[in-house]
């Protein structure tokens, strides 16, 4: 079992650009959540996808959007990047029958 996999591991983008991050959930999981973790802080919930729809959303602007595919994998898109978007982006997967969320290793995004 590969667990939750995220790609790429590291990324450098310029202000104003757009970025797409990818996540494959743990086998058997149908729910994917995305988190942003700034340096020295705890992860902050961005949104959650279930059955290809956004089910819950945290306090993030519309520049942050996502998608879930029929195979349960997911993408996080961020438009018009700001310097403040530099962070570790974490994907977590879970299933309705499990109370535990499994996290990937994250994508380190640096905006310059």
């Amino acid at each position: 079992d590969a667990g939750v996999t995220q790609s790429p591991t590291h990324l450098i983008k310029t202000r104003g650009q757009q970025v797409t991050l990818r996540c494959s959930p743990k086998s058997g999981h149908d729910t994917v959540s995305w988190y942003q973790q700034a340096l020295g802080q705890g992860p902050q919930f961005i949104f959650q996808y279930y059955e290809e729809e956004e089910r819950q959303r945290g306090n993030f602007p519309d520049r942050f959007s996502g998608h879930q595919f029929p195979n349960y994998s997911s993408e996080l898109n961020v438009n018009a990047l700001l310097l403040g978007d530099s962070a570790l982006y974490l994907c977590a997967s879970s299933s309705g029958s499990n109370t535990e969320a499994f996290f990937g290793q994250g994508t380190r995004l640096t905006v310059v």
Binding site: T31, F45, G58, A92, S94, T99, E100, G106
Partner: protein, 113 residues
């Protein structure tokens, strides 16, 4: 969701037992208490979850008093590899698996030789 308060950092030595206490005065009836561990440049990892009294697994124990306004994560005989950030979370996660986890600042545990 109930807010949690935990120490910013703690130091310990190898072989000692470490207890990290979390305060959650506004915990609701349906809320569970969950602890996650995070190593640098990795995602958080589930350690333990409980509702009341004591829960124990192969990694840690979780002690929850009757009023549930606090909880203590106990790590027996820590090693250098237990150096990490430990997060205490409170919420109705049991009915919404993986649902909108709310992380605070966590406790940075440093285990020294």
């Amino acid at each position: 969701l109930a807010k949690t308060t935990q120490p910013i950092s703690m130091d310990s030595y190898e072989g000692q037992e470490v207890n990290i206490t979390c305060s959650h005065n506004n915990i609701a009836t349906n809320d569970y208490i969950t602890w996650y561990q995070q190593f640098p440049s990795q995602g958080p990892r589930f350690i333990i979850q409980g509702y009341k009294t004591k829960v124990t697994n192969e990694v840690a124990s979780l002690f929850i008093p009757a009023d549930r306004k606090s909880s203590t994560l106990s790590l027996p005989r820590v090693s250098l590899s237990d150096t990490a950030v430990y997060y205490c979370l409170v919420g109705d996660y049991r009915n919404n698996a993986g649902n909108m986890l709310t992380f605070g600042g966590g406790t940075r545990l440093m285990v020294k030789p």
